[in-house]
């Protein structure tokens, strides 16, 4: 045992101490990432008994119950819908399988508040169809529906990827041993993909827990919305910090669940399964299966895009794609580009440190930098508002603070991309460059950077996408007069002028769609990317 370990150790070689500059940079990044949570604790703790009494108020218990109920309902529904779609597209003779494969994932390009907007416009109070359908989609039902339609793609993508990875021989062996197709599904296929379904479900849970846009549109008082209102309306903002901590606790519970699920996951089989599994014949269920796919894709993709196009086509004055959209579009584009590259730049030292010098303390820095995963946007924004108002008045309501918030919030997405990219570069390559006369920096620039660039760029793209769609942090931290496409949608909807939101919303979808499409078509790294998007 010891001999084996030492041999492995020898082959890997010793791990040189990281350079001083790199260490300092990584420590600074990790400290910045930890700042919001730490300051939230400080602020909440300084509030005293009066502030903490907010926890004991009956309304708080109500809000908490509502929040948990929403998360549970959305997660369950997203799991069933996403799992069913994955099985239908990967394992059955569903007609137009390839079309459904892409269409089922595309709703990722529709920001959840845009989905909510479309639902409200058609079936909400006073919506176009609500009287003829005799139903009103709002409140809990509306929020649950909109969030389910926005989060099922995570479950779908991860489960479909796991199904593609699963060795078809296992399912064939079970058939050979006399199991019926449904028994194979129950006894072999489901256990194989259960870790993937679990991971997708927890992404859906995290998303619905941190969502702010949908619940605001649907006027559902869950934690994120209550925190926002407390902050906006009350003179004493400490209760908001306390509630923010409560939200962090809920998020941490969900994250622990995910860590457990991942810990149980069986080692991934090598992706050798190039042979497709003989599809299960749907028989008389074919029509029902197609109807199910059509309903999901219709509600999640066709409805919102259709409503937006309809509004623009109707083009009353001031609704069309006029000059008013240019400033928010440029604002969105600008901050998203800067945030994307800044996040990757910040992730780089941490990723380099943990890939090159894996030691307990570098792993601790990495974990700190992933800390923002536990922080919904509302909480990050709140903590930074408090912090800036008290210590850094000069940056309060500046673009710098807003960008800082984006980078901290989306650092995990950039970090997972950078880590994978850097770990994928054989360290022998850099040694070869050294032996050929290049210094450490030159070797890094000439060999490692070009090879890691695609992965780093992918990380930047995901942060770009997340920043484009981001709403609560932008609302709380933006400088006065600064607009993005997301805030444009928000301000139109907050005065119930839904159709005025159409140009900005459609632009958001148009920018996101190609990125999501490429991700789905390329298929690789579906998990990493869906995971990263999960924080969106």
């Amino acid at each position: 045992m010891t001999a084996l370990r030492s041999r492995r150790r020898e082959r890997r070689g010793s791990r040189p101490l990281p350079s001083f500059g790199l260490t300092v940079a990584a420590v600074l990044v990790a400290a910045a990432a930890a700042l919001p949570l730490v300051y939230l604790f400080v602020r909440a703790a300084s509030g005293g008994a009066a502030a903490w009494s907010v926890v004991l108020r009956p309304q708080t218990a109500e809000v908490l119950t509502r929040t948990v109920a929403l998360v549970v309902v959305v997660t369950a529904a997203a799991t069933v819908i996403g799992g069913a779609l994955a099985w239908l597209t990967e394992r059955t003779d569903l007609p137009l399988r390839r079309v459904w494969t892409v269409a089922a994932a595309l709703p990722l390009a529709v920001p959840s508040y845009v989905a909510a907007l479309a639902l409200l416009a058609t079936a909400g109070p006073g919506g176009a169809l609500s009287s003829s359908l005799s139903l009103e989609v709002t409140g809990f039902t509306g929020a649950a529906l909109a969030l389910t339609l926005s989060t099922y793609p995570y479950v779908y993508l991860l489960t479909a990827a796991a199904l593609r990875r699963a060795d078809p021989a296992l399912e064939e062996a079970a058939r050979g041993l006399g199991r019926s197709p449904s028994a194979v599904l129950r006894e072999v296929t489901l256990p194989l993909v259960r870790p993937a379904i679990g991971a997708g479900a927890l992404l859906a849970a995290l998303y619905s827990l941190s969502d702010f846009g949908v619940v605001s549109l649907m006027r559902l008082d869950v934690l994120t919305r209550v925190i926002f209102q407390q902050y906006r309306t009350l003179f004493d903002r400490t209760p908001a910090a306390v509630l923010g901590l409560l939200l962090v606790v809920l998020t941490v519970i969900v994250l622990i669940g995910e860590a457990r699920a991942r810990g149980r996951a069986a080692p991934r089989a090598a992706p050798t399964a190039s042979r497709p599994v003989g599809p299960v014949a749907l028989g008389r269920w074919r029509a029902a299966a197609v109807a199910f796919c059509a309903l999901v894709v219709g509600l999640a993709l066709v409805l919102p895009v259709g409503v937006l196009i309809y509004w623009i086509a109707r083009a009353e004055t001031g609704v069309g794609l006029d000059a008013g959209i240019v400033a928010p579009a440029l604002g969105s584009l600008g901050v998203s580009l800067v945030a994307g590259f800044a996040a990757v730049l910040a992730a780089l030292p941490v990723a380099l440190l943990v890939v090159r010098s894996p030691r307990p303390w570098t792993r601790a820095l990495e974990r700190l930098s992933y800390g923002a995963n536990a922080l919904p946007g509302v909480v990050v924004a709140l903590a930074l508002v408090f912090f800036a108002a008290r210590y850094l008045g000069a940056v309060y309501q500046t673009l710098a603070l807003l960008l800082f918030a984006y980078v901290v919030r989306f650092l995990p997405q950039a970090l997972s991309g950078a880590r994978t990219a850097l770990a994928g570069v054989n360290p022998r390559l850099e040694e070869a460059a050294r032996a050929l006369g290049r210094g450490p920096r030159s070797a890094f620039a000439a060999v490692t950077m070009p090879l890691a660039a695609p992965g780093l760029l992918a990380g930047a793209t995901i942060v770009f996408l997340s920043t484009m769609k981001e709403l609560p942090m932008t609302l709380l931290l933006r400088p006065i007069g600064f607009e993005t496409l997301a805030t444009e949608v928000w301000s139109a909807t907050s005065v119930s002028a839904y159709s005025r939101a159409a140009p900005a919303a459609l632009l958001l979808v148009a920018v996101s769609a190609p990125i999501v499409l490429r991700m789905v078509v390329r298929r690789d790294g579906a998990r990493a990317e869906a995971e990263a998007l999960g924080a969106g």
Binding site: S6, E10, L429, E431, R434, A435, G439, V447, L451
Partner: protein, 355 residues
């Protein structure tokens, strides 16, 4: 070919003195003294985990020694408070997995180590990169990317890349281990010719006995971080320093015997020449090919097993006195299993005392 006149001090391309490196509590390299004269091809042979790769990495500068010194040419590059970074040691390295830069063409790879002025771009790129490619016969693949090359071509590209800057020394880490067996023998010869052509000094690390013996001017046998024997291949094979080395380099019969005067050892199988044998009881390492079988003498053994290998045959015998013996003979004349034979030392057999 490395035999040198002791009167003329030879210029050393690389030298290590008392080199020590441990990973945690696990020693990898212990007190290694090695001197490789210019133009020599030294092979370092040892089982996996014996520290031979660490030795290479210490010389190249990818590991820092705990103690001891490394000299390249006359220059101290590590030890005694001195540390020269790998990029300034003028050492070429061929990695086990070749480590070709996947984003650069073959020519880009080969030109990578050249001074900026000679690196150039596009068609105008001639000179040393081209010369190196021609040396390994890859000029027609200059524009290819590494993944478009076969295993053997990749290896030659890696060699050209290491040779192009004209290093003081080339280190090769198990360069043939990722190739098919059929390709290995051809490439071994080819690599040797290329290294000789370039008049390069080379240290090649391997766990393959045949490779080490056939390639090296000298062979260093390494075990548990120490060099247990260093010498020309014929010598290392014929006169292993100890039992372990004898067994590691090939099949061997261990016979106990008594020393006689005049460098001979008498065993139960007969008398073996063994120059340098001392006195008293010793063990001899006798190679299977150092024994001979006859049928025209008194029977003293029986063939138990026969392993036909084409060009030769390995017999397992049971000797009436001493038990099991291995005998290797050309496949000209075959003995059947069960044949009763006379076994004795071959005419020119010189066995070595191992303890």
């Amino acid at each position: 070919m490395s035999a040198s006149d002791p009167a003329i001090p030879q210029a050393m391309a690389v030298e290590t003195r008392g080199l020590v490196k441990a990973f945690g509590a696990v020693p990898a390299v212990c007190e290694v003294d090695l001197a490789v004269p210019r133009g020599e091809l030294l092979t370092v042979l040892g089982p996996s985990g014996c520290g031979k790769t660490t030795l290479l990495r210490l010389i190249a500068g990818f590991e820092r020694p705990d103690r001891g010194e490394v000299l390249v040419g006359d220059l101290l590059v590590a030890g005694d408070g001195v540390w020269i970074a790998p990029e300034r040691r003028r050492i070429g390295m061929v990695f086990q997995d070749y480590a070709l830069f996947p984003h650069l063409s073959v020519e880009g790879n080969v030109a990578f180590g050249l001074p900026r002025g000679e690196r150039g771009r596009g068609r105008g790129r001639t000179g040393r990169a081209r010369t190196a490619l021609e040396l390994v016969g890859l000029q027609h693949k200059a524009a290819c990317l590494p993944h478009q090359l076969s295993g053997g071509e990749r290896q030659r590209a890696a060699l050209a890349r290491a040779l192009a800057p004209g290093p003081e020394l080339v280190l090769l880490d198990e360069p043939f281990s990722s190739l098919d067996a059929s390709l290995r023998a051809d490439l071994r010869r080819e690599v040797e010719l290329i290294l000789r052509d370039a008049e390069a000094t080379a240290v090649l690390v391997t766990h393959d006995q045949e490779e080490a013996l056939s390639l090296g001017d000298r062979v260093a046998v390494m075990r548990e971080g120490r060099i247990v024997q260093l010498g020309p291949p014929e010598e290392v094979y014929a006169r292993p320093a100890d039992r372990w080395t004898a067994g590691f380099l090939g099949e061997v019969n261990l016979l106990s015997g008594m020393c006689r005067r005049g460098g001979a050892v008498e065993t139960w199988l007969g008398v073996f020449d063994s120059p340098g044998a001392g006195a008293g009881r010793v063990h001899l390492a006798v190679r299977p090919e150092q024994l001979d079988l006859r049928t025209d003498r008194a029977v003293n053994a029986e063939v138990v097993e026969r392993e036909f290998r084409g060009h030769d045959v390995l017999y397992r015998l049971r000797h009436e006195v001493g038990g099991k013996l291995l005998v290797q003979l050309p496949s000209l004349e075959l003995y059947e299993v069960g044949a009763r034979v006379h076994v004795r030392p071959a005419a020119a057999a010189v066995a070595s005392v191992v303890d």
